[in-house]
């Protein structure tokens, strides 16, 4: 019995008066939830491995609306989005959470609207269960709403979020992607920036019957940034949501995904990889819910951790009583390059149906001494031998990205953030 209503609103101090004066009923409900939950600490089961303490120590202002166009251009160039095949891909660019029209090229086959205008929240997210979603719901200012009509191929679109700030700020974009029946679409989300900021996006995805969404997220946030992203995906009959998240940047990042297989023969892939060093913390949390029979889910996540980096994997596969003939696979693998690196892995299967095929596993290891010696005995210098083995480990994960353009982008960005030879001791 808990007679005292919990109030943890003190943890919301960094947002100051930004949370006051809310009138919209959805936002009002969210702020109620947020005052009860506060920002979660590690006593909350879902946040046991990832502390938000460093967020609660600094005030986080609303970003100023003006941005430095030259810097945006430079950021886009650094990401390789202005040359080669990616230069021609339509893009919706946000700077500090606000739509940046001059840098965007809207797609022709996809309807685009903006949260700033529509102010419509979707129905898939759970602000009263997920505090970071509640925070987003209260503070959301803008976001892209992409809609691919029935039977259409929306092609590729880049959804780019750039942070650029000197003072600590937070922004909370609210995105939505809707694929109508039989539609196809490839979305490449890019999260990057410079300075100290919290990027707290929520993305709601609805994939209708027979529709197919490929979604690759490249998280290359600035080194002082925190990215706490939550995605809710729902997939209808014979629909496919094929996702991959590559985590490279940020001091703290969490990619949380809730995927619901809502009707028979739906397919969901929640794959990912992260490569972290220094004191980075990278959290991949997922809940895959099989709510209908005959659905398939796949999840492979690989982590390369150097220095004092810490990786977190929390993967829950939930199989409802009605979800007979579920086919589920989940695997988390970590390669620790230093004695101080760490992985916390919590795979969970919760199965209420009796006729299912589900497997899961987790592995942790260092580079293999026999393999290293074999390479070196062939004349390959130690540092290069290590890189070859790390690449081999990561390549198997990146090979899961079906879309070639997205895969090439990820391979290039991964190569760039490769551990410096001999850094780990």
């Amino acid at each position: 019995m808990n007679a005292i209503t919990k109030d943890r609103s003190d943890t919301l101090a960094p947002f100051g008066s930004r949370l006051d004066g809310v009138t919209d009923p959805v936002r009002k409900a969210a702020i109620g939830a947020l005052h009860r939950s506060g920002l979660p600490d590690r006593r909350v089961e879902e946040w046991r491995y990832t502390s938000l303490r460093f967020l609660t120590e600094t005030p986080l202002a609303a970003p100023v609306e003006v941005y430095d166009a030259g810097q945006v251009q430079a950021q886009l160039e650094t990401l390789g989005l202005t040359t080669g095949p990616l230069a021609d891909v339509p893009r919706v660019v946000f700077v500090n959470g606000r739509y940046a029209a001059p840098f965007s090229v809207l797609p022709s086959e996809v309807d685009v609207s903006f949260f700033a205008k529509t102010q419509t929240f979707g129905t898939l997210s759970c602000p009263d269960r997920d505090p970071l979603t509640a925070l987003n719901t209260v503070l959301a200012g803008d976001g892209a709403q992409l809609h691919v009509p029935a039977g259409k191929d929306g092609g590729h679109v880049l959804l780019v979020s750039l942070g650029q700030t000197d003072a600590p700020v937070s922004f909370h974009p609210r995105h939505a992607v809707v694929l109508d029946e039989g539609a196809k679409f490839t979305l490449i989300s890019i999260q990057a920036g410079q300075g100290r900021y919290l990027h707290n996006p929520v993305l709601e995805i609805s994939v209708a019957a027979q529709a197919n969404l490929k979604h690759v997220t490249l998280q290359a946030e600035g080194e002082a940034a925190a990215c706490l992203a939550t995605t809710y995906a729902q997939v209808a009959e014979h629909g496919t949501y094929d996702s991959f998240v590559l985590g490279l940047g940020g001091a703290l990042s969490r990619q949380e995904i809730h995927a619901r297989l809502a009707a028979p023969f739906a397919t969901v892939h929640v794959n990912g990889a992260q490569m972290l060093a220094g004191k980075q913390i990278g959290d991949v949390t997922s809940v895959i819910s099989h709510a209908a029979p005959d659905c398939t889910s796949r999840q492979t996540v690989r982590n390369v951790l150097d220095g004092h980096a810490r990786g977190v994997f929390q993967g829950k596969v939930f199989v409802d009583r009605v979800a007979q003939k579920t086919d589920g696979y989940q695997m988390n693998q970590a390669l620790l390059l230093s004695e101080n690196a760490e992985i916390d892995a919590k795979p969970e299967l919760e199965i209420y149906a009796d006729d299912v095929k589900c497997s899961h596993g987790a592995t942790v290891g260092a580079l293999d001494d026999d393999q290293l010696f074999y390479l070196r005995s062939r004349g390959v210098p130690n540092a290069e031998a290590r890189q070859i083995l790390i690449h081999a480990f990561m390549d198997e994960a990146l090979g899961l990205i079906e879309d070639e353009m997205a895969r090439t982008l990820c391979i290039r960005m991964l190569a760039r953030s490769f551990p410096v030879a001999g850094e780990s001791a």
Binding site: R378, G379, V380, I388, F393
Partner: protein
Amino acid sequence: MTQFLDISGLCARIDADGQEKEILKGVDLSIPPGEVHAIMGPNGSGKSTLSYALAGREDYEVTAGSITFQGKNLLEMEPEERAAAGLFLAFQSPIELPGVNNANFLRTAVNAVRRARGQDELDAVTFLKTARAAAKELAMAPDMLKRNVNVGFSGGEKKRNEVLQMTLLQPSFAILDETDSGLDVDALRIVAEGVNRLRSPGFSALVITHHQRLLDYLVPDRIHVMANGRIIHSGGPELAQQIDREGYTRFLAEAEAA
């Protein structure tokens, strides 16, 4: 002293789960330039350990003795430096490298060694041509180059892949650790021919084997018997037949008596 490879009083141990285990107990062995020597000996006598000590594997700790290779102190060199200096070890159990393409692996190795030897690196096309030709001479299926290094290779295929690496890296001294085990008769001949092709005044080899058959194709200049971490007997090529007939009992007894 031969001025090529001189091993003297070599002692080595390994750390087996916290227990230090002495394996090589004073190995003396000299191989002159241009000669092929064989080592035979009972299982567990330390033959592979000697090959690892020569190649520079870190967990085999050398506690006494010396190895001089072409005038250099081998024990002070990293494994990759030894490879660049011309030493090659064909592993008794070749290692699998999942996710590493065999052709890329071979090219990386060849170019690393060429760089260290002050030679120009080979471009992809030139290299592939050379590698394909070498693979063909060893009767290897062309797809072996496209597959991951040793992954899913049969025992014999792995051994041939070792010989392919040897051919491409052009060592001046090769150690073949039971490269003949697991090979069918035809493969045995092909592999022996692969080594024979390299035979020249500038190339020496140490062939570790349990079978006289390989030595029929690859006639050695000397045969050494290793037991209990030492070379206990040396002789000419005729020693192989004697060992085949009589086993090691007599050599072991003689060593005991000495």
